[in-house]
């Protein structure tokens, strides 16, 4: 299994590791997933997300070139701004979901899912015209500093005024002397930053952040990363979205700009928009004590499978069991009952309006 540049720090902090897309990653440290989750919601947490991939795209018209591969419209964001997008197959199925950083007309940096890195790079190289893609995944360590105290902790380590970085904008800045991409983004619903630095400087940044954060900052594993993102209904590739699901089915219409230029998959998505999707990804709460987990079937009144659960957990914030599932269009409406087969028993839930938890304060 692959290890990130922070592996030794995790081991020293008492991490319990799991295999995540071929990476040996901390699932939690010495407390519980619920305690780590609350640290992020109420104070601050630091995640090692160095397993994520980075792909640089450059060329005279790099923005236009990459725009033909993604559903969001990179021509509508400014230099120094980032955007969340899907990258689709001609079928409309999702190759990956990405955050793309626009440096300029001629240079962008893509952050992609760890497990998709090789696939994405091959797909981009195959389909990109008039621009060059370079896999730079091994060059970066990436840390996610998230929580209401994230900004005050980070501010002690940099001259850059963090108040000048708005949500989904980024700058290059020195953080404790390390050249870092400081991006006001995250996967938790809290204010926070994703920090990209040279991989051999990751430990310096990690140590400096914990020194600055003191008791306010805790290391957070993938277990809480999952519960935090799920409370926000942020999609997880491989669970809620994949090559068999389209952005419109997944409720990602807001990152699918069908009124702009052409991109791979647009024809199918336009048609899907006009004729309507056959299924929708919905957020639900369970009525009982059981957790509906990935792969469990959604059933109709007579027990026939009509959909499937893609994510499910106990929400640490709500103390309720929450999840996401694909259900047929028409059965997707907020307030509707959802029936889920849990170990050969039918458990009831209710479809709710996402997010499950109101996002923390944006700046």
């Amino acid at each position: 299994m692959k290890r990130t540049p922070l592996y030794n720090r995790h081991e020293a902090a008492g991490a319990r590791f799991v295999d995540f897309g071929g990476w040996e990653m901390p699932v939690r440290y010495t407390t519980t997933i619920q305690a780590e989750h609350q640290s992020v919601r109420t104070s601050a947490g630091l995640f090692d997300v160095s397993h994520m991939g980075e792909i640089e795209v450059s060329g005279e018209n790099a923005v236009d070139a990459l725009n033909r591969l993604v559903t969001n419209d990179l021509s509508r964001i400014h230099d120094g701004q980032a955007c969340y997008t899907a990258m689709c197959l001609p079928s409309g199925g999702i190759v990956d979901d990405l955050v793309i950083y626009r440096y300029s007309e001629t240079k962008l940096l893509i952050c992609c899912n760890a497990a998709n890195r090789e696939k994405d790079y091959a797909w981009i190289c195959e389909n990109l015209e008039d621009a060059v893609a370079v896999d730079r995944g091994d060059e970066f360590a990436q840390l996610a500093l998230q929580g209401p105290k994230a900004a005050s902790i980070l501010q002690t380590l940099t001259e850059q005024n963090l108040a000048d970085i708005k949500r989904y904008w980024f700058v290059d800045a020195l953080v404790c002397g390390v050249q870092t991409i400081v991006s006001r983004t995250g996967y938790t619903g809290e204010d926070g930053f994703e920090l990209y630095c040279p991989s051999d400087k990751g430990e310096i940044l990690w140590d400096a952040l914990f020194e600055a954060g003191g008791e306010s900052l805790k290391p957070i594993g993938l277990g809480a990363r999952d519960t935090l993102r799920l409370e926000m209904k942020y999609a997880l590739y491989g669970n809620d979205i994949d090559e068999t699901t389209t952005p419109l089915e997944a409720g990602l219409g807001w990152i699918t700009k069908l009124d702009g230029g052409d991109f791979i998959g647009k024809d199918v998505l336009l048609e899907q928009k006009e004729t309507g999707v056959e299924r929708r990804l919905v957020a639900f709460k369970m009525s009982g004590r059981a957790i509906a987990r990935k792969g469990y079937e959604v059933v109709d009144d007579v027990g026939n499978a009509i959909g499937r659960v893609t994510s499910g957990t106990r929400s640490p914030t709500l103390g309720e069991n929450i999840g996401l599932a694909y259900v047929p269009f028409g059965a997707h409406r907020i307030g509707s009952e959802i029936k889920i087969s849990v170990r050969n028993r039918i458990e009831l839930g209710t479809i709710v309006k996402p997010p499950f938890v109101k996002p923390g304060s944006d700046v």
């Binding site: 997933i33 999952d226 519960t227 059981a290 957990t313 106990r314």
Partner: protein, 129 residues
């Protein structure tokens, strides 16, 4: 940490304790609760249910995962730890005490005798990890 020597153990990480009256109390081991993480739900059988050895008799859910419970030996459920319905985290806090899960009247004590000793279980866990 070594497991309590007065208990017997399964490869599925349950423990079993035989009382003088022939009743067997069943729970999950400290290693199991630690591996699962924060337990949020224990699905218990009904009093009167019967199981064979190695049958599934319930489920332990943590935030991260769900794990089946297997009967260390066959018998009839005579008591379930209903305090776990409101306080499933007791399984984490006191796996060999207040976090017990069910009590059964065993049909065949030879099945109990065939379970692993604490020494054997500790060696099994060490080999597994």
């Amino acid at each position: 940490m070594s497991s309590p020597s007065e208990l017997r153990y399964t490869k599925e990480h349950e423990w079993a304790k035989l009382a003088d009256n022939g009743e067997v109390t069943i729970g999950i081991t400290d290693h199991a609760q630690d591996a699962l993480g924060d337990v949020v739900f224990v699905e218990l059988p009904e009093v009167g249910d019967s199981f064979d050895a190695e049958d599934k008799f319930g489920v332990v859910e943590s935030v991260k995962t769900v794990s089946d419970l297997y009967a260390p030996c066959g018998g009839e459920v005579i008591e379930v730890n209903s305090t776990l319905e409101d306080a499933p985290e007791t399984v984490n806090g006191d796996p060999y005490g207040d976090g017990w899960i069910i009590r059964i009247a065993v049909s065949d004590t030879a099945q109990f005798d065939a379970l692993m000793s604490a020494t054997e279980y500790d060696a099994f866990v060490a080999a597994e990890s």
